[in-house]
C-alpha cells in the first residue's frame, strides 16, 4: 500500500523541474534525429536507457563506434553505484524486489537529489516519494523526446537557452545539502575537482571522478 501524501509530494516537487526535463528531452530528440537515428529509436532509447547524459554520449559518439560509446557510458554510469548505495540506505529492508527494480530503473540525478533532500527535511515514505517524482520525470523525458524527434529540425530548442540552464538545476539540488563545515569543504573540493578533471579526463569520466574524490576527501573532515 502506497503512502498517498508521499507520492503526491514527489509528483509536486518534481513538477518544478518538469519544464527543464521536457526541454532537455526535446533537445535530445532533435539531436538524435539530426545524427541519423529514427524517431522511434530516439524515443525507445529514452525508455530503455532513461539517462540524459548516457543518451547524449550515445548520439555524440555514434560515428566513433561501439567501443567509444560503451567506454564513455561506463564512465558516466559508475556514478550510479554510490547513488544506488545511498538510496538503498534510505529504503526499508522489506521493500519488494519489484519496487527495488523500479526505483533502480529510474535512478537518475534529478529525482535522486529530490529524494535525498526530502528524506532529510521531511517525513516522507522514501520509496513512495521517489516513485511520484520518477513518474513526473519519465513522463516529461519521454514526451520531450517524442516532441523533439517528431519535430526534428523544425524546432531550435537552444533558442530559449534551456539546455544551458542544466548546471543551475544541479546547483538547486545541491543547495539544500550544504549544511556544516564538512559539506562546505566537500562542495569546494567538488568545484576544484571538476575543473581539474575538465583538463585531464575525457568528458564522460569527469563527473564521476570529481564526485568520488570530493566525497572521499570531504568525509575525512569533521563538522
Amino acid at each position: 500500500m502506497m503512502d498517498r501524501s508521499s507520492l503526491l509530494k514527489g509528483i509536486r516537487d518534481a513538477a518544478g523541474l518538469a519544464p527543464a526535463l521536457f526541454a532537455f528531452g526535446v533537445l535530445f530528440g532533435v539531436l538524435a534525429v539530426d545524427r541519423g537515428m529514427s524517431p522511434w529509436l530516439a524515443v525507445a532509447s529514452s525508455a530503455i536507457i532513461l539517462s540524459g547524459a548516457a543518451q547524449f554520449a550515445l548520439v555524440g559518439l555514434l560515428p566513433a563506434g561501439t567501443g567509444a560509446v560503451l567506454v564513455a557510458v561506463t564512465g558516466l554510469a559508475l556514478r550510479h553505484v554510490p547513488m544506488s548505495a545511498a538510496l538503498a540506505r534510505l529504503l526499508p529492508a522489506d521493500l519488494s524486489r519489484v519496487r527495488r527494480l523500479a526505483l533502480a530503473y529510474v535512478l537518475v540525478d534529478e529525482t535522486f537529489g529530490l529524494t535525498v533532500v526530502a528524506a532529510r527535511r521531511s517525513q516522507v515514505v522514501v520509496a513512495d516519494y521517489k516513485t511520484g517524482a520518477d513518474v513526473m520525470l519519465v513522463v516529461n523525458w519521454l514526451a520531450g523526446t517524442a516532441v523533439g524527434a517528431g519535430l526534428g529540425s523544425m524546432v531550435d530548442p537552444t533558442r530559449f537557452g534551456l539546455g544551458e540552464l542544466f548546471p543551475l538545476l544541479f546547483l538547486g539540488l545541491a543547495a539544500p545539502l550544504v549544511r556544516g563545515r564538512r559539506a562546505w569543504v566537500t562542495a569546494g573540493l567538488a568545484v576544484v575537482g571538476a575543473l581539474v578533471a575538465a583538463q585531464v579526463l575525457p568528458p564522460a569520466w569527469q563527473v564521476t571522478a570529481a564526485a568520488v574524490v570530493a566525497a572521499g576527501v570531504g568525509s575525512r573532515f569533521h563538522d
Binding site: 554510469a77 540506505r89 546547483l171 545539502l177 562542495a187 568545484v191 571538476a194 568520488v212
Partner: protein
C-alpha cells in the same frame, strides 16, 4: 552492432550500475560519511562540469550568470531549490539580454 542493439547495450550498462545496491537489501561497504556527502559532491560536480571549459576555467556567459544568481538565491532563500532556480533563471535571461 545495429543502433538498436547499441541502445540496448547502453541500457544494460546503465541499469546494471543503478541496480547494484538496490537488487536486494544488504549492508553497503561504503562508509556512511562518504554516502552522506556523495549526493552533494555529485551535484556540485555536475554543475561545475557544465560550466567549465576544456582548459579548466569557467565559461563566462549567461550560464555562469545563472549559477551566480542561483548562489545568491540559495543565500536569500535558505538553500531552497525554488529560490535557486528563480534567481538563477532571472540572472540567466538578464545576461542574455545584455
Amino acid at each position: 552492432m545495429t543502433d538498436m542493439a547499441l541502445v540496448v547495450a547502453v541500457g544494460i550498462v546503465t541499469f546494471a550500475s543503478r541496480v547494484s545496491y538496490l537488487w536486494r537489501p544488504r549492508r553497503t561497504t561504503h562508509p556512511q560519511p562518504f554516502l552522506d556527502l556523495f549526493p552533494l559532491a555529485l551535484f556540485v560536480s555536475l554543475a561545475t562540469v557544465g560550466l567549465a571549459t576544456p582548459d579548466g576555467a569557467f565559461r563566462v556567459g549567461p550560464g555562469l550568470a545563472a549559477a551566480v544568481g542561483g548562489v545568491v538565491g540559495a543565500a536569500v532563500g535558505r538553500r531552497s531549490i525554488v529560490w535557486v532556480l528563480a534567481f538563477g533563471s532571472a540572472a540567466f535571461y538578464l545576461a542574455r539580454l545584455l
